[in-house]
Amino acid sequence: MSIYQVNKLLYLTDNDAAFRKRMKENPEEAIKAFSLSQEEHDALTSGAVGKLYQMGVHTFLLNHLSRYELFGVNRDNYLSRIREGMEYDPRFEQGQMPMQYFIKE
């Protein structure tokens, strides 16, 4: 298993309309097609963004969890979640997620 599979399913969520639909309707079912380790599976399905970040998921792809509001992740909790497990950094104070303007499919 490798983190590649997590990166891949997030990549497909953004780039493949049919897969995105499956992810929105039943994400637990949709990710069964990928060979995730138990640790990867648990981190993903619990929306543990910080854990996934530490495991090496690319942040451009990780961000799709908040864009498409998957596994409980959204624009409001994304930053606090990705920082879980990190030491406090004063630069955090300057950070906020930008607005998201969705185009309906």
């Binding site: 990166n7 953004d14 995105r20 690319h58 792809l61 950070g95 997620m97 185009i103």
Partner: protein
């Protein structure tokens, strides 16, 4: 012989188009983009070569070249559904792209080529402003500025020099403009989102304004780039561009919160 007439660098925030339309006249980016556009119009180019980095839209870890020439007859974008802006068809220039590919290989650049492209916002946002109605053909040169390990900045600089030599050797009458797409320092989707590495931003601007392009390429190590946030590898596109401008200094360069807007007049 074709002629390089202008080089420009701009960022590509996907929200820029939408936010400008919502609140016209309020954003610094709008004024700066207009300034760049005026110079592009004055230069009257026939063709654009755009240095860009993808964002996992055209490329993924399954196939991720360090350098790749776009050779599609035409391509559509931005592909991202969340990108609030018009969708465009962008024309390519296959003969020039093919010739550039071959010229690069013979010049010891082991480039990749892509005959089909899915354009992301980073390719299209600058064109929305600088290539109205997508009239001019565009040849993209992709550099992996987003997924480590990145190519060396000094190598990007050499790539830019090669592109300049190619343009001058190209058997056509085109007036060519170069566009570098990308920011200087930014974190997107990472834990430091919203923070800007001002020190790095100022270092970059200072070296660009002084024409110290090779010094910038030497200082832009992957370690330094990553320290400035996960999106800061887009600087490589600017560095490639500086390889093509020779000793010319920018006509202007303005910063805007981790990004730069600049124009080099080359005739």
């Amino acid at each position: 012989m074709a002629k390089l007439v202008l080089a420009a660098g701009v960022p590509h925030p996907p929200r820029l188009v939408y936010e400008m339309a919502q609140a016209p006249g309020k954003m610094r980016g709008e004024v700066l983009m207009k300034q760049v556009r005026e110079q592009v119009e004055k230069a009257e180019p026939d063709l654009i070569i755009e240095f860009d980095s993808d964002h996992f839209v055209n490329f993924f870890y399954s196939n991720l070249p360090s350098f790749c020439i776009g050779m599609a007859e035409e391509a559509q974008g931005p592909q991202e559904t969340w990108c609030p802006m018009p969708r465009y068809t962008v024309r390519g220039h296959v003969p020039l792209a093919k010739a550039l590919f071959k010229y690069g290989l013979h010049d010891k650049f082991d480039l990749a080529a892509a005959h089909e492209l899915r354009l992301d916002h980073s390719l299209v946002v600058p064109l929305h402003f600088l290539n109205p109605s997508m009239e001019l053909p565009v040849v993209p040169i992709y550099t992996n500025g987003f997924a480590s390990p990145l190519p060396l900045a000094t190598r990007c600089f050499s790539l830019g020099r090669m592109v300049r030599r190619f343009i001058e050797a190209w058997d056509g009458k085109e007036r060519v403009a170069l566009i570098a797409s990308g920011c200087f320092a930014m974190d997107v989707g990472g834990p430091l989102r919203g923070w800007t590495d001002r020190e790095w931003e100022e270092t970059i601007s200072g070296l660009l304004l002084q024409g110290k392009y090779q010094a910038l390429a030497r200082r832009a190590t992957e370690e330094r780039i990553n320290k400035a946030g996960n999106n800061s590898g887009e600087l490589l596109n600017w560095i490639t561009l500086t390889g093509a401008v020779g000793k010319t200094r920018p006509l202007f360069l303005e910063n805007d919160d981790g990004s730069g807007y600049a124009v080099w007049k080359l005739e």
